[in-house]
């Protein structure tokens, strides 16, 4: 799968990319919401891993715009990643918008299972 990653914690984003690559996926790292949207506009992704707290605008907004552009080949699988749980107030707005919610720290096996199921 080709995976789009957006997380302003660059170390975490880079590590995720490396992990996904080791698992025979391809991945591209972005660190701001705008970078992620630009990447999605220029390249086709099967899935997007979106951090909910981004410096320029919220991860939910990235998801909303990706969903709106779905017909033009935006990623079908959207996974929220956040320090907050899906039940927490900060995660509430993400409900319904994402296919999955992963709370940090991220377990790579869990992520792999989600990607494999969507394949």
């Amino acid at each position: 799968m080709n995976v789009l990653i957006v997380d302003d914690n660059e170390a975490a984003a880079d590590l995720l990319q490396e992990l996904l690559t080791l698992q025979d996926h391809t991945a591209r790292c972005t660190y701001t919401a705008q970078q992620a949207l630009d990447a999605a506009a220029s390249e086709r992704f099967d899935a997007a891993l979106i951090d909910l707290t981004l410096p320029d605008f919220p991860g939910t907004e990235v998801a909303r715009r990706l969903r709106a552009g779905m017909a033009e080949g935006a990623p079908k699988l959207l996974v929220a990643i956040s320090g907050f749980s899906a039940q927490d107030a900060a995660g509430a707005s993400a409900r319904g918008l994402f296919d999955h919610h992963l709370q940090k720290p991220i377990d790579i096996d869990q992520l792999s299972a989600i990607l494999a199921a969507a394949h």
Binding site: A11, L15, G83
Partner: protein, 406 residues
């Protein structure tokens, strides 16, 4: 019902000897008798006193008793005073007195029957005392009711405060957990990556030349977590006013050199350097551990928001005060935020874009400085860096946050 009410009685007669005789009949404990020899004099007294009863002679030169009574009935203040007319029997009964409906009216006839006078007066005085006592009881009841309402309002206020405190604590826990998960995530991803590399036999990622960078990354995440936990505990102590300082003789210059050296790697990682300008030694009495926290917080902030430009720390001493300044050339702070950045959980929008954190560093820093009877200020313009200035009296006294009023 306690009746300790003084009843004032007004008697009006143009003949002083009649007044004396009447007063002798009606005076008694708990009563004050006021005499007037004319209606005009009576009106003056009515302005100054609140009477339980007025006894008016009908036949008076000038304004007579009925006319006086009508004036009394026409004024709100005197409208309800009971009136007893003293009249020569049968002589003035054809006078149409209006105003019966406003208050009690009775008649006594000359020559006065002492028994009739005292019993009538007693009835009106008792009535007055009871009404007064009732009024006092009503006032007390109203006051008690008012107090009760105030108490209920206080309780509601306390309840709101408690609810707010619980919400704050929940938010705090949620925020701490969120902030801890960020460095934890990086660490956990690192270990999972190593595990995967190991299981695939990719040992080149563990090559000796790559290990220092790996270790440095881990240490950075661990330091972040330790700092978060320390901040969280300090803030909890400050809330309970339990943060204390234990001043000991300290060489601030040596302490600053050690702190700068300890941050050298962190500065390198930020692409920056810290220049320290300090005298050979700067001795004072402070809590060394807490002052180290102040220096570390200010320098760490300067590195975080300093855009990789050099950071300067200067120490000096003048007039029993140690001066510490930390200057960066980074993103700066808008004037409207200069006060807010010292409050807990306050972070400027700019700072959020540049680094994660709870927004506790400067709050803790200021508390510590205040505990040392010192002060901290900031000068900054957005885009042109920030200058933090700390003044510490050379001698600090051992105290807790409560005593510092901080």
């Amino acid at each position: 019902m306690s009746i300790d009410v003084e009843s004032k009685l007004l008697i009006v007669d143009d003949l002083p000897e009649n007044l004396l005789a009447l007063e002798a009949l009606i005076r008694g404990p708990g009563r004050a008798v006021y005499r007037a020899t004319s209606a005009e004099q009576a009106l003056a007294l009515l302005l100054d006193h609140e009477f339980a009863l007025a006894i008016l002679d009908v036949q008076m030169p000038g304004m007579n008793g009925f006319e006086l009574a009508e004036l009394m009935r026409g004024t709100e203040r005197t409208r309800h005073i009971p009136i007893i007319f003293v009249s020569a029997a049968g002589r003035e009964l054809n006078y149409a007195f209006r105003g019966y409906e406003s208050g009690a009216v009775d008649f006594l006839h000359k020559p006065l029957d002492p028994h009739a006078v005292t019993s009538k007066v007693n009835v009106f005085v008792d009535l007055h005392r009871h009404r007064k006592a009732l009024g006092q009881e009503m006032e007390k009841l109203a006051a008690a009711h008012h107090m009760q309402e105030e108490l209920v309002e206080q309780l509601r206020h306390t309840q709101r405060e408690l609810e707010h405190a619980v919400r704050m604590r929940d938010d705090f826990m949620s925020m701490v957990s969120h902030e801890l998960r960020t460095p934890l995530n990086t660490l956990y991803l690192e270990t999972q990556l190593r595990q995967l590399n190991l299981s695939k036999g990719r040992l080149e990622s563990f090559a000796p030349d790559r290990l220092p960078a790996l270790i440095a990354r881990d240490q950075r995440q661990i330091r972040n977590m330790v700092r978060l936990i320390d901040d969280m505990l300090d803030v909890t102590r400050m809330r309970r006013d339990a943060l204390s300082i234990q001043p000991q003789p300290v060489d601030l210059a040596a302490l600053a050199r050690a702190v700068v050296e300890g941050l050298r790697q962190q500065a390198e990682a930020a692409g920056s350097v810290i220049a320290l300008e300090a005298p050979g030694e700067l001795r004072g009495v402070w809590d060394e551990f807490r002052i180290e926290q102040v220096l570390t917080n200010l320098l760490t902030n300067a590195l975080r928001y300093g855009r990789g430009k050099p950071v300067e720390m200067m120490l000096s001493q003048a007039a029993g005060i140690a001066h510490i300044t930390v200057r960066d050339q980074g993103i700066g702070i808008a004037p409207e935020d200069h006060e807010r950045i010292f409050e807990q959980f306050e972070r400027t929008d700019d700072s959020r874009k540049h680094a994660s954190g709870l927004g506790l560093g400067l709050y803790i820093t200021r508390k510590i400085v205040h505990l040392h009877n010192g002060r901290i200020d900031v000068e900054s313009t957005p885009g042109h860096g920030a200058l933090f200035k700390v003044e510490l009296p050379l001698q600090a006294e051992a105290k807790t946050a409560m005593e510092a009023g901080a």
